[in-house]
């Protein structure tokens, strides 16, 4: 399989740590000096997924709804969407629904029902008594939305960040592969030969 570019969109209320998570994952750095993201930016990271080298392009956008109308251009072609909230802010959790809906409307993926999301509950390094959203509550929500994978992370302490994005990469790759299968299947040809079966092999049935 050739090198793949996976496009990942990170969404969530402003101040929940989208930029921090991305920087922790890509640059292994944390700073509490990140400014509010204006416009959009992205970072890329090469990552091995199932022994396959893929390039993840992580898009960080402004957290204020007002700017979302500009997001369309960035959302298009996304392979996975990461929804981030702050476990210490109930409100940032409650808006996940609308972030998810908004994304599905704007990105309009082929198969919205099965489009891969990953939810990250960030800032778990903060004292326990400040926590507003329980793990159970978050997981219940994720289950109700079609078993969205859920991770509790700390961008500051680098907790679970690597694992979370590994899952993001994996699901994004699967999404990308499915999209590609859709695209190329009409031209599949028996003449191609039996040794070219790498695609179905690796993607067909890992269930």
């Amino acid at each position: 399989m050739g090198r793949v570019l996976l496009k990942v969109i990170i969404l969530g209320d402003s101040g929940v740590g989208k930029t921090s998570l991305m920087n922790q994952y890509v640059n292994k750095r944390f700073s509490n000096q990140y400014k509010a993201t204006i416009g959009a930016d992205f970072l890329t990271k090469e990552v091995m997924v199932d022994d396959r080298l893929v390039t993840m392009q992580l898009w960080d956008t402004a957290g204020q709804e007002r700017f979302q109308s500009l997001g369309v251009a960035f959302y298009r072609g996304a392979d996975c969407c990461v929804l981030v909230y702050d476990v210490n802010s109930a409100k940032s959790f409650e808006t996940l629904d609308s972030w998810r809906d908004e994304f599905l409307i704007q990105a309009s993926p082929h198969d919205p029902e099965n489009f891969p999301f990953v939810v990250l509950g960030n800032k778990i390094d903060v004292e326990e008594n400040k926590r507003q959203v329980t793990q159970k509550r978050a997981m219940t929500w994720c289950q109700s939305k079609g078993n969205i994978p859920y991770f509790e992370t700390s961008a500051k302490e680098a907790i679970n960040v690597e694992q979370a994005f590994q899952t993001v990469a994996k699901n994004a790759l699967q999404q990308e592969a499915e999209e590609q299968l859709l695209e190329i299947s009409p031209s599949l040809d028996v003449n191609v030969g039996s040794n070219r079966d790498s695609l179905p092999d690796s993607y067909g049935c890992n269930c």
């Binding site: 399989m1 050739g2 090198r3 793949v4 570019l5 402003s14 101040g15 890509v26 640059n27 292994k28 509490n32 000096q33 990140y34 400014k35 509010a36 204006i38 416009g39 959009a40 930016d41 992205f42 970072l43 890329t44 091995m48 022994d51 396959r52 080298l53 390039t55 392009q57 402004a62 957290g63 204020q64 007002r66 700017f67 109308s69 500009l70 251009a73 960035f74 210490n88 802010s89 109930a90 409100k91 940032s92 800032k123 400040k130 507003q132 590609q180 190329i184 299947s185 031209s187 599949l188 040809d189 003449n191 191609v192 040794n195 070219r196 079966d197 790498s198 695609l199 092999d201 690796s202």
Partner: protein, 805 residues
Amino acid sequence: MDDEYILSPSSLRSCISTISSDSMVEIKRPNDPPQPSTSRSHADDRYRLVYSKSKVYVNPTAYARDNIPGFVALVKREASNPIYLLAWIPESLLNEKGSSEWDKFVKIEEKVVWDENDEDVVLIDLPMQRPESYAFSVPLTSIYSLLVHPPTLSSWYGSIGINLINGDTLPTLHFHDDESRSFTLSTPPQPLVNGASSTYPPPPTHVPKSGNSWVIFADDAVDDILAQSSYANSFSPVPAHRRPRPISTSPPTTPNPYSHRSSVLHRSLGSPTSNAQSASQARMALLQSFSNITRATRHAAQNILSHPLAKPIVPHLPDPVRSLVNASGEWEWGSWVEKGGVGEFESARVYLARWARIVAEEGERARRREAQALASSSTLGQETSSLGIFELLHSTSNLPTPKSSRDPEHPVDEKMWAKWFAEDGRPKVRVEEMKREVFRRGVSAEGKLRQTVWPFILGVYQWDATRAERERKWEAERKLYHELKDQWCGVPEVFDRPDVVEERHRIDVDCRRTDRNQPLFATPTAPASPSKAGRQDDEKSSHQRYSTVAPNMADIGAQSPTNEHIDRLAGILLTYNLYEKELGYVQGMSDLCAPIYVVMDANEEMTFWCFVEVMHRMKQNFLRDQSGMKKQLLTLQQLIGVMDPELYRHLEKTDGLNLFFCFRWVLIAFKREFPFNDVLRLWEVLWTDYYSNDFVLFVALAVLESHRDMILRYLVEFDEILKYCNELSMTIELDTTLAQAEVLFLSFAQLVADIDRRKAEELPTPSTAGVRRRATTSTGDPSTNTINMPTLSENLRELLNTGRS
């Protein structure tokens, strides 16, 4: 098996044309029975080491400390039906086998001349597939594709990804050529026979045989061949996933569903004429790719350093980089790259674009120094400027080149400012003159002059008034501010209203992360967090409970600590929110307000009213439906269309016409693009509205223009341009940019006047003058009788407006 025979040494030769360790050595083993060709590993086989290269790493994790050094090797299983295997053996595994085994690999790597009759043949144990050590050996015929990532300046080590026919991917091999012996050895010897082939892959019959030496590619010939093949793309810093699809010399007989893969082998396997040939081509490609990884390490650096523009800076480079022979590469280049602020983005194109820009700037500076030295002797009657494109524009339209009037070296200082006012504070000069001088010179950062000047530029203070009149009016404004503030401050019904809580949240989150490196905002206040204070009962803390914008933890979540000034900044923004009810707080406002707060030295009322005036200019950027931003970006797009059609077309091709990469620039007037003090200097220039109310768009155009060559040359995707522009932050030289912006404005104004004049005269445009403008994409509705001239949209005409109501 002529085919096989030719391939082993010749392909080896090609593989190491730069490394020249093409010796083949063999040690006989007692037992040598023929083996079935399908089996992979047979203890009794003779495995002849034909090629070895040290310091090829496997990186199991993202951490450098986990990288495993090893040897990549080509091994020939000598049998009636020989098989070539590609192997990677970790150094640790070789160590286990003792120093003699290690020496074999080193010996092969160091061999310079290949001699078939060499008695000194090396046989090795075939490394076993050991997943835990990452060691592998696979027949070349099982390789489906190679993904070659040659070294680039952002990623010093080239790497090869190997995919097998069965779908497996082998660990990516990273070529640390700076550590490898074969790279640090002297230049390769000239090949005995230069049998360069001009097609790729070269048909085996082209391989000449001369004595005992087999040569397929001379060192340079490989370049020629590659230049003609699609594989040449791997020399370009284009990331593999972006490379153009391989172009087959003959169309494939069957539609290939995998054609999106950018793979070296894929191409040769695409239209196999015979199995043997395709297999041989496969091997060729593999070996070439090895060679090129090493070669490209040198070439990438050499190409750049030999560019004429690079000359001025070469003497300043660290020795290892200059010589490149000992390139202790990673460290030196690494720090260099670090300096350039590269890090996360691996697209070498973006990096190269930036790099080229740095080189060009250095070159330009050196050229200017030279020009100065030679100034009087110069017979060229023309003054050179760095405004390339604008000169072009004007030479084609026969208009005189406007000049910048800026003089930032001599800012308006206290003395000059004082001279403009009479005893009673009434001005002795017209407001236009004051604005012109501020536009040209800026305001001195000395003392607190900005505190005095800004309210005048912004219109907080009336110009035509006496000091006493101004003070009276200001007293009223001060009061008004506190009346506005008292609408929420200490008023629980308002303060805790859900919509206000939401606004407080938005404001607070942003203020906590705005200009925290400014002394006023830097230190956090340790004691009594607002939420705790709210639980206390005495009147004072109750007032504080309803005056400190920061909401409870439950609403805001965990954020950076605040301080007194951050709270006050938030208070100003919340007050503005009640003053300008339509807008609401929008991200970016804190960026606009904080510098004013700093300049006004924490004067809340003055900060507020200055901010009101700034927002009067910039409100449109923050409208709920984003219509203002859309309009501004559209105007900028049209401006580019008129001023630089080539750039316009390039942006069109790259889906970049939405100009989202200028979004941040326009939204907050370049706040994030310049260091704090430059932002102050830029803003006071913009606020004068001297030439245009939308001068910021000319600044944006100036930035784009000074990077246009890099954009046109290197950046072919929207995301690359976005990344490039985002990373311009803190690298833009303010005064040059402002000078260019001024020249651009004047050129634009001339052009408009010229168009209008010609329209009025109804004359056809002379051909010399029309070339550039005829190519202009129409910026409004094209009317048939003005085909030769761009139609100027209303948006563009509005750019000529100055002054505010």
